[in-house]
């Protein structure tokens, strides 16, 4: 517990991102405005992604159709699971959907899994290493809405692109203006469509963010109990294993569903 201000300060410190911005954007030494970068989110998610996808790529490059190695077997198991979900839900032909689903599931899972490392462990180690004991550092990138929104907005654009590509511009526009009430009520159809399309990325990103943020919050509160945290942290961690997997799976599954809705006629 490095921050001053007791409990509130401790919690606030743990919920603050390591932000960098131009000096002109700082107000009282705090970054404001759009052009701020959360260094912790960017670094942790990037490094985790590079490590895990680099590992998967190296295993995949050595993949044989014969007896697979243990690592290849594990990657095939994960990838096969995702591919099965894609096959069950997405009936079109696309070279993008399965890799997209694999990326989401694996990346979200490893980022969520950072939650299982005790809340003070890595920040304190980092503060000791850098010598800056006031430096905030959030180690769970999925508790940053910037990350979840970046993912859901990317998914949104990909599904939009896929809808245009699969249906063609004319058919797509017809669907936007004529479904579900017919061409006479085109403005209402358009409004419905816009609400529907915007609701998707918002619900997708807020679901992941909310779950992980709340989970992290409970971890922080448990960590405040001092010695009593020991019997509480373990069950919550065990329960959290379920949550991190489930949230990764839900994000992946909904992405597949949105892709299939974009590719199929309503």
């Amino acid at each position: 517990m490095s921050a001053e201000g007791g409990t509130t300060g401790y919690i606030q410190h743990h919920l603050t991102n390591l932000a960098v911005c131009a000096d002109s954007a700082k107000i009282d030494g705090v970054c404001t405005g759009f052009w701020t970068f959360h260094l912790d989110t960017l670094l942790v998610s990037g490094i985790l992604g590079l490590v895990v996808f680099g590992l998967m790529a190296s295993l995949a490059s050595k993949a044989t159709s014969g007896v697979p190695s243990g690592g290849q077997n594990f990657v095939e198991m994960v990838v096969g699971l995702v591919d099965q979900q894609v096959r069950d839900t997405f009936h079109g032909k696309s070279a993008l959907v399965t890799p997209l689903a694999i990326t989401i599931f694996v990346w979200v899972f490893v980022m969520n899994a950072m939650d299982l490392i005790p809340v003070d462990f890595l920040p304190v180690a980092l503060q000791a290493a850098t010598g800056n004991h006031e430096m905030p550092f959030k180690f769970v990138p999925t508790t940053d809405p910037n990350l979840t929104f970046a993912m859901s907005i990317t998914v949104f654009f990909i599904s939009l692109f896929m809808g245009l590509k699969v249906k063609g511009f004319g058919h797509f526009m017809h669907e936007v203006f004529a479904v579900p009430f017919g061409l006479k009520l085109a403005p209402i159809n358009l409004l419905f469509r816009i609400v529907e399309e915007i609701a998707r990325p918002i619900s997708l990103s807020l679901r992941l963010f909310g779950n992980m943020y709340a989970g992290e919050m409970v971890f922080i509160l448990i960590a405040l109990l001092g010695l009593y945290q020991l019997p509480l942290a373990l069950p919550w961690e065990l329960f959290h294993i379920l949550i991190i997997t489930l949230q990764a799976f839900v994000f992946m599954m909904l992405t597949i569903v949105y892709m299939s809705m974009a590719a199929e006629s309503h």
């Binding site: 991102n17 932000a19 405005g33 759009f34 052009w35 701020t36 970068f37 959360h38 989110t41 960017l42 998610s45 990037g46 992604g49 996808f53 680099g54 998967m56 790529a57 995949a60 490059s61 993949a63 044989t64 159709s65 014969g66 697979p68 290849q72 990657v75 095939e76 990838v79 096969g80 591919d83 070279a95 993008l96 399965t98 890799p99 997209l100 694999i102 990326t103 694996v106 990346w107 940053d144 809405p145 910037n146 990350l147 929104f149 970046a150 993912m151 907005i153 990317t154």
Partner: protein, 156 residues
């Protein structure tokens, strides 16, 4: 909760990882898995074929066995028949041989009897003559009754 330029950075990371998965992770794994699936399917088909062939071979061998059994029982029956024939033939020849021996012996016995009769005939004449000579010495002249005795000798 403040949205800022981190969004852009995260979108770039996300895009990069999608690209890596799409380019380097998914295609080789998909190929390996599909190949393995094909191999397993081939293996299962081959096993099925092998099983079928084995069934055929078992049927063939059973057929061959049955044929061999039939043939061997035929052979045995033929051999038994032949043996019976040989025995019959042997019996026949033995009978003929025995008959021959018997008839030979009979002929010999007859000859012997004939010869004994001849000898007896010779002797009877002599004995009769000697007896008659002794009886008639006193009263009859041998030369007178020679003709009659000669006739008697012929009749015997």
């Amino acid at each position: 909760m403040n949205i800022n330029a981190t969004l852009i950075g995260q979108a770039i990371w996300f895009g990069l990882f999608i690209w890596i998965t799409m380019k380097f992770v998914w295609p080789p794994l998909q190929k390996a898995m599909a190949d393995r699936q094909a191999q397993i399917a081939d293996g299962l088909a081959a096993a099925e074929r092998g099983k079928h062939e084995q069934e055929l071979a078992a049927k063939r061998s059973a057929d061959a066995l049955r044929e061999a059994k039939e043939k061997s029982s035929d052979f045995i029956a033929q051999a038994e028949k032949r043996a019976q024939q040989i025995i019959e033939e042997a019996k026949g020849t033995a009978k003929v041989e025995a008959d021959k021996v018997v008839s030979g012996a009979k002929a010999e016995i007859e000859q012997e009897v004939e010869r004994a009769k001849q000898q007896l005939r010779e002797r009877v004449a002599e004995l009769a003559v000697a007896g008659a000579e002794k009886i008639l010495r006193k009263e009859i002249n041998a030369s007178v009754h020679a003709d009659m005795l000669g006739t008697l000798k012929q009749d015997l």
